[in-house]
């Protein structure tokens, strides 16, 4: 199964509790459909956005950046995307396929800290 990377910007004003549930929900979406979650990476909590973004009838200037690396089938990836787009806590989310090759997956080393 290919390795994917979810780059997500969620609302800056989220509490840690709601943040946790959001992450858990996205991981469960992958796991329930026979995927594997590799890990999460925090890129910054409540950071200023590069430009003003409008989502869910609101303008946003700050957000939390985070990544999720996971293995899944392409269909599951699409389902995850559509789910997150509906979520009001999420400003922007994009999924990128990192690689198909096993050697590159093995070499991939995210959040080794």
């Amino acid at each position: 199964m290919p390795l994917y990377e979810l780059v997500c910007i969620s609302r800056g004003s989220l509490t840690q509790e709601s943040m946790r549930t959001l992450l858990k929900r996205s991981a469960e979406t992958v796991l329930d459909r026979g995927g594997a979650v590799r890990g999460f990476v925090n890129m910054g909590r409540d950071m200023p956005l590069p430009y003003r973004m409008k989502r869910h009838m609101e303008y946003h200037t700050h957000g939390t950046f985070w990544l999720m690396h996971y293995h899944s089938n392409p269909k599951t990836s699409g389902v995850l995307m559509s789910q997150l787009k509906l979520d009001p806590r999420v400003i922007r989310c994009n999924v990128i396929k990192i690689t198909d090759k096993l050697s590159e997956m093995a070499a991939f080393n995210a959040a080794s800290v």
């Binding site: 890129m43 950071m47 950046f65 922007r92 991939f108 080393n109 995210a110 800290v113």
Partner: protein
Amino acid sequence: MLSTLRTRLGFLRPSVFQAARRSMSSTTGTGPENTPIDSTKPTNETSSSSSSTSSIDEKKVQMASIMSDATQQQKQTPAQLSKLRNSLIPSKVYENATYTRKFKAKTIYHPRDLNEMEVLKASRRIPEVDSSKDPFVALGINPLKDYKNTNLLASFVTEMGKIKPRYKTGLTAKSQRRLSKAIKRARAFGLMPVTSRPYFMYNYKSLGRNVGQY
């Protein structure tokens, strides 16, 4: 004295008068000066401006004589004509050139280097990119995999956030394509500003070492 000479020997060329004048007036020192002649002025044999120096007049006269010969004969080849003309080109022609170049002694020049147009063309041509000087090639990095590294991408973007063209970045075509793709991706994902250069970066260190390249 001079006037009588003129009236008597009116059919002779003015160059004779120049020689005569020079021999007569030795004290009045207007020696031959190296002032440039305006070769575009039409030379007139009869109108000899007495104030000008003898060398210029001589040259003018020579030019005029050659021109008159040419018109009379009309059989001189263009090569011969140009040869004659070139031998009398004054220094002012080079002063008016749009491109001045210092030619050093003891160096070999190609005929191409002497042609002004060719040199200007060469200077306008975009220099070929040396792939060894491409930072991505040298480090073995795929810029597209580093789309999250806005600090790296910032150096290839102008103050206004525009992607720099290849002749400014000095990258190979392949690298430039991948880099621009990475920048566009970063903009779309909301990681990089569109109308300005990124001046701060999120916590890239949390991503760990060698995170972009795998």
